[in-house]
């Protein structure tokens, strides 16, 4: 089912959705001098931004930065029932892929993270095909199709004037019933054009996944690629796939709460032992851990899928403009050279 919607009627359409869902979409916010696009509950359809990648990933809806897990007396708290389902409107392929990457981590057969699971169950996502390359993104280099979101009931396209909806779910069809049908050929043509644009600006990464751990771990390039890293947690906190967290207890006048919050492998405290020893003492080791986790350990454990969806947020947000693509190129080059030495020698 292919439907089209003029952008001017978006408000009315969202009102319909709002009756059943809590609608969240990328909206523009002004913070001081900085303009940001972030996922927020929609109040006014005019503030929705579909032509620019949101600065923060939708990860926070499944894995909030702070999550209260209960208190010392009650034990674990149950999630609140009866809330409206959340509809995230306009999630790009990279972020959809990121959720797919998170799923096997939290929904493991042996242990299921119920907090994550329940949040995921109460969320519906509308995919959004990208019509242009965003700042620093490279999902197509990681075999992700920027135009086609996977595992979503509805995939949208924004051509500037109209929004196209490719509806794949029968239950959701009722919302689209009164919209005019779209011309499939016209959309294909548009997608073809966008595809071409992507191909023109693509960078090819020939990465052996997972990275051979033994060959790369002690490689000399790590010092160079991490030399300018400050050691802040921006890259991991803005990453749609980084999922490391910590538990702690917090005291307040009424008692003690148990919390789960994000943690980052870029902080020295992340690995510091109670006895004072820190196995990852230098920034070089910590940077290596971040890259190796994404491209070696994760694919080793999860069918060769890297824990990176190429959204490029770590590159855009980095205070010193460290580029993940440059690091990947360096690894690629190093492995090729090693290969060459071996075969010739």
């Amino acid at each position: 089912m292919l439907k089209v919607l003029a952008k001017s009627e978006l408000g009315q359409f969202l009102d319909k959705l709002k009756q059943e869902f809590r609608v969240v979409a990328p909206v523009r916010r002004q913070y001081g001098k900085k303009e940001r696009v972030e996922y927020h509950p929609v109040e006014n359809s005019e503030e929705i931004i579909l032509d620019s990648q949101p600065d923060t990933p939708p990860k926070k809806f499944f894995l909030p930065q702070n999550e209260r897990l209960g208190d010392e007396l009650e034990g674990e708290t149950d999630l609140e029932e009866g809330e409206k389902e959340t509809l995230i409107f306009g999630v790009r392929s990279c972020d959809l892929k990121a959720v797919e990457i998170l799923k096997p981590v939290f929904l493991d057969d042996d242990f299921t993270d119920t907090y994550f699971q329940k949040k995921l169950e109460k969320t519906v996502m509308f995919g959004l095909g990208c019509s242009s390359r965003q700042e620093n993104c490279f999902c197509d280099s990681l075999e992700i199709n920027p135009l086609e979101g996977k595992n979503v009931p509805v995939n949208m396209y924004d051509d500037g004037e109209k929004i196209w909806f490719a509806v794949r779910d029968k239950e959701l069809e009722k919302f689209f019933a009164d919209l005019p049908d779209g011309d499939a050929e016209e959309l294909e043509e548009k997608k073809g054009k966008w595809q071409e644009e992507f191909e023109k600006t693509a960078i090819t990464l020939d990465l052996p996944l997972p990275f051979p751990e033994l060959k790369t771990f002690e490689a000399p390039f790590w010092h160079k690629v991490s030399a300018n890293c400050l050691g802040c947690g921006v890259c991991t906190y803005y990453c749609p796939t980084c999922f490391c967290f910590g538990f702690f207890w917090e005291k307040h006048p009424e008692g003690i709460d148990r919390w789960r919050t994000w943690d980052s492998c870029m902080f020295p405290l992340f690995t510091k032992h109670g006895g004072g020893h820190n196995p990852r003492e230098t920034q070089k080791q910590r940077t290596r851990q971040r890259i190796m986790h994404k491209f070696s350990y994760h694919p080793q454990n999860f069918d060769g899928v890297p824990a990176c969806s190429g959204c490029g947020r770590c590159i855009s947000q980095c205070p010193v403009n460290i580029d993940l693509r440059v690091i990947l190129r360096t690894v690629e080059k190093y492995l090729k050279e090693e290969e060459g030495v071996k075969s010739s020698g």
Partner: protein, 154 residues
């Protein structure tokens, strides 16, 4: 806020061992009356008080603080309170600029013989803090942005 008749403030008083704590002692043994709202913490020297402790006091819900050391020149450790003086002035400026009423952040000097003065100071501090009302905490407005995400994700 202000004007709350029944408001009994919680005030943390950091007193140096050599002068101000002795002054409090003197006030007590001389049977002088002063308000009971202060909780005294005895420290070796006003120069040893980390400003973080004072910020932390507000984090933990104190309505105000009082720091008192030896008069400049009388420090048991010669110059501890001279260092403290700079730190406290800067802390006071910082707190006030961040929007925390200066009435809540009190610094003074009290020698071991000034029991009467100590009682008067506590009187004044309690009045000052009563005038600005209870401290509502740094998070008097809740999480703001974070709240909607956490609540909505459930």
């Amino acid at each position: 806020m202000a004007g709350n008749e029944n408001f009994e403030p919680k005030i943390l008083a950091f007193l140096c061992n050599w002068c101000s704590y002795a002054a409090a002692d003197l006030a007590g043994s001389s049977r002088m009356q002063y308000p009971p709202q202060i909780r005294v913490i005895r420290v070796p020297c006003s120069g040893r008080i980390d400003p973080f402790l004072l910020i932390r006091a507000f984090n933990s819900g104190a309505d105000g603080i009082l720091v008192s050391g030896c008069h400049p020149g009388d420090c048991h450790y010669l110059d501890g309170n001279y260092y403290a003086r700079r730190r406290f002035l800067m802390l006071k400026e910082l707190m006030q600029y961040a929007g925390i009423a200066e009435e809540r952040v009190n610094f003074t000097w009290c020698s071991a013989s000034e029991g009467k003065r100590f009682a008067a100071i506590v009187d004044r501090v309690v009045e000052r803090i009563k005038a600005v009302g209870p401290w509502e905490g740094f998070d008097s407005r809740g999480f703001i942005r974070r709240e909607e995400e956490v609540a909505g994700g459930n």
